[in-house]
Symmetry: C2
Subunit: 215 residues, 2 copies
Amino acid sequence: MVQNIIVTVDVVLLTLRDERLHVAVQRRDKEPYNGQLALPGGYIHDNEDFDAEGSARRMLKDKTGIAAPYLEQLETFANSARDPRGWSVSVAYYALVAPESLSVGQLDLLPVDGLPVLAFDHNKLVAAAVQRVRNKAAYSSLACYLLPERFTLTELQHTYEKILGSRLDKSSFRRKISSLDFLEMVKDEVQAGRQRPAQFWKLKQGSLTIFDKLL
Amino acid sequence: MVQNIIVTVDVVLLTLRDERLHVAVQRRDKEPYNGQLALPGGYIHDNEDFDAEGSARRMLKDKTGIAAPYLEQLETFANSARDPRGWSVSVAYYALVAPESLSVGQLDLLPVDGLPVLAFDHNKLVAAAVQRVRNKAAYSSLACYLLPERFTLTELQHTYEKILGSRLDKSSFRRKISSLDFLEMVKDEVQAGRQRPAQFWKLKQGSLTIFDKLL
DNA sequence: GAAATAGTGTCTCTCAGACACTATAAA
DNA sequence: TTTATAGTGTCTGAGAGACACTATTTC
């Protein structure tokens, strides 16, 4: 059995900037699609990577310097038409980071709504990631990963609102969040401003908390 | 760039039998894992299959004769350790069928709880599929695909109960289902028995309906 | 004091769970 | 009539949405 199949990993790196979800892209410097915008990604190195998630982390590290974002497998795109070189498989991952932690190097950040045409089927990958995030955020603590480690409840609520695209009631939101008990108060740390200071919070444990739909 | 990576598709075919979820497995007749139980699956044929879902359908068709079950991509398992032949990728799918439509040929049906050790990492694939089905069934019309085309509301309720592993209230269940409006009454068709006949229903359109958690 | 935002209290309306009830068949 | 299951009606308690209120800072 001889297969002639290209195996790659691509990463949809999302962050929140100027009130909207943005995705990281870079201009390709080789064929195919030379000069076009594409997601960070590349071949799996079967002599170097242990698994596909490892490949994804390597690519993120190489291209953004980010070592430990929220990272999850998205979907696999595999057919004979997506790459002019032949039958190809892309195991797609998506990653979430706080805008602060992203020093844009070789990468550009573009709003996910109204993207230009990207290389390969990368527009599809972005669409799938955005749909997944919008959907999953509605019933989980996912939104926290788009914020820095410490944040206020108002910032968290605004993050949810930007992702979901709808207003949330402050009182209901706080009731829900505090009943779920996945946040930990950062003692003695508050956000100062020209008004009443806001309490800082952070995620309690590493794992994602799932709950009933917020909206 | 030369890659030495095996690319396969495996299918977790699930059905409901004797009150419990069962998975279809077959005994392997070649190395590696010769003689062990494994999921139906195999190499992607890059000269024959258009995409990975096509591969999955081909394998289902070849090994079960089933042409159009509910079929969805599950997750991709890709690392250097899962196959003794080297770095390998398995794009896993799961399929749901009514027990009636399954004429067990070369396949065995085993309860998903308490499976023996399967070849490769196939126990992991089954676990992932079962978790996905149990989770997704709670907030969608997924359970309908484990029933024949026509079914009664009581049968549907029992199907949900078997998947979710908990009792549902008849009145609440019917309120919910009818408010969601994804079922169509099969006029003049009822299930006879030694008591009041039950109305038959079927899915209205092809696509899955998503709703708030049942439980 | 005013302005601005953080954070809480309370009312109401909806809806899920519980459960009793009615309906329609076979024997 | 009894038995068995299909299918409906009704009460209640928990919780979400709406919104008004209090709290704490800067100026």
